[in-house]
């Protein structure tokens, strides 16, 4: 059994990734249970990947990109948000507890906000515990 929970952060390269870099340069501490995967844009994030991640052992997921209107690619984040609204119900149908997914906007200037989002998400996921239910549902053996 693992002691730690695993939270994967899917973030865009321009806002949140840079924002998380700023958290670093500002030396603001946060939980090490989160690992960042860099995408060019939240618009790129295929929500099927979220389901795969849960099946493979993720306990929580953060999706974070630019604020509305601030997208480096004009509208990628709008598409992400629209798809998220549709996908939320799909995920629920698949039995995924959407409290395990944190959707947020963190700009390149919001280093402190990134740390706060990581910490509150980790805290919530810890309360919810490891996501063994879904892994069982998905037919994946718990590690």
């Amino acid at each position: 059994m693992e002691n730690n929970i695993k939270v994967v952060a899917f973030v865009c390269n321009w806002c949140t990734y840079a924002g998380a870099d700023l958290t670093g340069t500002s030396r603001i501490k946060y939980s090490s249970d989160v690992k960042i995967v860099r995408f060019p844009c939240t618009g790129r994030i295929d929500f099927m990947l979220l389901m795969k991640a849960f099946a493979e052992g993720a306990d929580g997921i953060i999706v974070s990109g630019c604020h509305p209107n601030d997208c480096h690619y004009t509208s990628g984040n709008f598409h992400a948000r629209r798809r998220w609204i549709v996908f939320k119900s799909v995920l629920e149908t698949f039995g995924i507890d959407t409290r395990r997914i944190q959707f947020s906007w963190v700009s390149a200037a919001e280093g402190a906000k990134w740390a706060e989002i990581v910490n509150t998400t980790v805290e919530r996921i810890k309360e919810l515990g490891p996501y063994t239910e879904y892994r069982e549902l998905a037919g994946v053996e718990a590690p």
Binding site: K29, Y30, S31, N119, V122, E123
Partner: protein
């Protein structure tokens, strides 16, 4: 969730834990001292009190606790209203006054002010409400200021502003102090 270690027992940490006021944010601009209605009478204007505390040096912190200034603070909150860092100096003063009382370090010049506060509270403790004549009598005995307001009291009475007998709340207020007893 905080990842900072909370091991330090510094005065500023204790103050922050008790009052929520983080005085390390103060950058000593002096705006509080500039606007404070009492700073001209103070041995240590507000920003200087904060400066003493910021050092975390035991002797300098004691100096602030022993100051006359903390008793002169009227809690009018002018300092907070204009402070660029929104430091709640009045709360710091409350903390220091209680500290001075607890450790018997009340500045001698503050004797009358403390006597008044004590008389006031004791009147409230007895009656639940303030009994003004009782307060004045108690205060006179405590402060030794016997002749004070000898003219004012009778005329107040004549104008119907003083009750001869105390008004009381129906149920006497008794504080149930647990382990957090102050005095």
């Amino acid at each position: 969730m905080s990842h900072h270690s909370e091991t330090s027992n510094s005065f500023t940490k204790k103050l922050a834990a008790s009052t929520g006021v983080e005085i390390n944010r103060c950058y000593q601009c002096g705006k509080c001292s500039a606007g404070c209605p009492m700073s001209v009478e103070m041995d240590m204007p507000p920003s200087l009190v904060i400066r003493h505390l910021q050092t975390n040096d035991e002797k300098l912190v004691q100096k602030a606790v022993q100051s006359h200034a903390i008793w002169l603070c009227l809690s009018c909150e002018t300092c907070l209203c204009r402070c660029p860092m929104e430091i709640e100096t009045a709360k710091v003063m409350d903390y220091l006054r209680e500290e001075a009382l607890r450790t018997n370090q009340v500045n001698p010049k503050a004797r009358k002010i403390v006597a008044f506060h004590k008389s006031f509270l004791s009147s409230v403790k007895n009656n639940g409400r303030l009994f003004e004549i009782g307060l004045v009598l108690k205060y006179k005995l405590a402060s030794g200021d016997l002749l004070k307001d000898m003219v004012l009291a009778p005329s107040m009475f004549l104008k119907g502003k003083l009750h001869l007998w105390p008004e009381r709340v129906k149920t006497k207020i008794k504080l149930h102090k647990g382990s957090n007893t102050v005095h």
